[in-house]
């Protein structure tokens, strides 16, 4: 408010001009306003770009959560979703979009845009840029560089490894390190570094091909709550990483892959593997 004593006879015009004169009020230079406007646009843009990084990490986790095997690893889809959803990244995405919105709203004509236009624009931009970053492999980089640090959060990919350290449900994941000459067993090093001898005599050609190709695999076998170093495999799947930053070169095959017609017909399967489906709920372990 004005602190100067008011003369009631003075007109408003006179008082304003006197104050301008007396306090040497001058118009702020135009560049300050231009800079201010650019500042808010830049903050808004940076927030949307950070949202894109969060979206890329979220996409990486969603793509690599192992959705196809949820019935094997979890009692139901909801439980799987709660554990597999990349909440950290989704919350980060929401925060960055909100920050982007508030800054764009403060630009010169930002108030003219309805909330939903700015919010949808920011979400779409973040997701489109995030998809491009994910496709370029940055989703994994971000997820591994940042996702490992918060003490309250474990990246879904790391979480997923723990779901595949469960021989009592017939689930094992890890790296194929050796294959027997007769192709009837192979050695798997699980994510904790322990070695397992996997009985491969019941595997189909497709599963054997995954074993012979090497690299990381998922093994679905006969549930054995007492298993500590051996497991009878019924299916083996290559553990694919979608959106990997540096896709590992395919390992040297352990053996010549047999032609596809050499399959084990369901009728010829042992009783142990009968009834075990790759994507269905796990069969109860004997004695469970």
């Amino acid at each position: 408010m004005n602190n100067q004593p008011r003369n009631p006879e003075d007109s408003l015009t006179k008082r304003v001009l006197e104050q301008i004169e007396g306090e040497r009020v001058a118009p702020r230079p135009r560049w300050e306003f231009v800079l201010e406007n650019w500042f808010f646009w830049t903050l808004g843009g940076v927030a949307v770009a950070l949202g894109a990084f969060a979206a890329a990490a979220a996409l990486f986790e969603i793509a690599n959560a192992g959705w196809a095997f949820y019935a094997k690893t979890h009692p139901d889809l909801l439980t799987f979703f709660i554990q597999a959803a990349p909440f950290l990244w989704l919350i980060a995405l929401a925060v960055f979009i909100f920050v982007g919105y508030t800054n764009i709203r403060r630009t010169k004509r930002g108030y003219r845009y309805p909330f939903w236009i700015i919010a949808c624009g920011a979400v779409l931009t973040s997701i489109v840029l995030g998809t491009a970053l994910f496709a370029a492999g940055f989703g994994q980089e971000i997820d591994e560089a940042i996702g490992d640090h918060p003490p309250f959060y474990r990246p879904v990919v790391v979480e997923e490894h723990s779901w595949w350290e469960n021989p009592s449900r017939g689930l094992l994941g890890g790296m194929v390190v050796a294959v027997s000459g007769a192709n009837d067993s192979f050695t798997l090093q699980d994510f904790n570094g322990s070695s397992w001898t996997i009985d491969a005599s019941e595997l189909s050609t497709t599963s054997l091909a995954a074993v012979e190709r090497g690299g990381q695999v998922r093994v679905i076998g006969v549930p054995d709550p007492d298993a500590t170093s051996t497991l009878e495999a019924c299916y083996v799947f290559a553990w694919q990483t979608y959106g990997a930053h540096n896709p590992a070169p395919p390992p040297a095959p352990f053996a010549v892959i047999p032609p596809p017609n050499e399959t084990i017909a369901p009728a010829t399967r042992s009783d142990e593997c009968k009834g075990i489906r790759p994507y269905g709920p796990p069969r109860a372990a004997p004695g469970e």
Binding site: M1, V16, I20, F33, Y111
Partner: protein, 190 residues
């Protein structure tokens, strides 16, 4: 006065010569003082203080004036924001001052009534309308004042209140409904 010179031209001149700014003050001081009175600043001294601050602020920020907006909307925005600061500082609830322009609002409400035949006429005292407007939320009161008392377009209101045009439209619709509810029981039906 130079009625043929646009506000935007005067703004450009005022940037070079502060005396030119006097023209803008002369053009808008009465209109804005009346707006402040309607907003609920009853004391003349307070209105003049708010206007003085608003014009000083406008002069200081003259380079931020966007010629794509009307100077009038820009000035209303500054005065509106100053008035809100005044109410916050005084912790006072504004009391709307009703005048003859309020009849536009009542006529509009009559046109909008779902059962127009039931409301053949609205007869209200100024005190009743003031009371009904006073209990409305501030956002509703602001849009009703600008639309029906200041005769501002939706685009101008959007620029003054810094809200999207769609939001202004929604607020007006809700404000009229709230006012109708607030007036129920006080309306005289003929």
């Amino acid at each position: 006065m130079q009625p043929d010179v646009t506000d935007e031209q005067i703004v450009r001149r005022a940037l070079a010569d502060k005396e030119e700014f006097a023209l803008l003050i002369t053009r808008y001081e009465r209109k804005l003082a009346r707006y402040l009175e309607r907003l609920g600043v009853p004391a003349r001294e307070d209105r003049e203080d708010i206007l003085q601050n608003a014009f000083i602020k406008a002069y200081r920020n003259l380079n931020s004036f966007d010629p794509e907006l009307s100077f009038s909307s820009w000035m209303y925005r500054i005065v509106h924001n100053e008035a809100m600061s005044f109410f916050r500082a005084r912790r006072a609830r504004p009391t709307v001052h009703y005048d003859e322009e309020g009849n536009t609002l009542l006529a509009e409400m009559k046109d909008d009534a779902a059962d127009a035949s039931a409301i053949s006429d609205l007869r209200l005292s100024s005190a009743e309308l003031e009371k009904a407007l006073a209990v409305l939320p501030a956002r509703y009161r602001d849009v009703l004042l600008l639309r029906f008392f200041e005769d501002r377009s939706y685009t101008e209101m959007s620029d003054i209140l810094e809200l999207p045009v769609g939001t202004i439209s929604t607020l007006i619709h809700r404000a009229k409904r709230a006012l109708r509810e607030s007036l129920s029981g006080r309306i005289t039906y003929e």
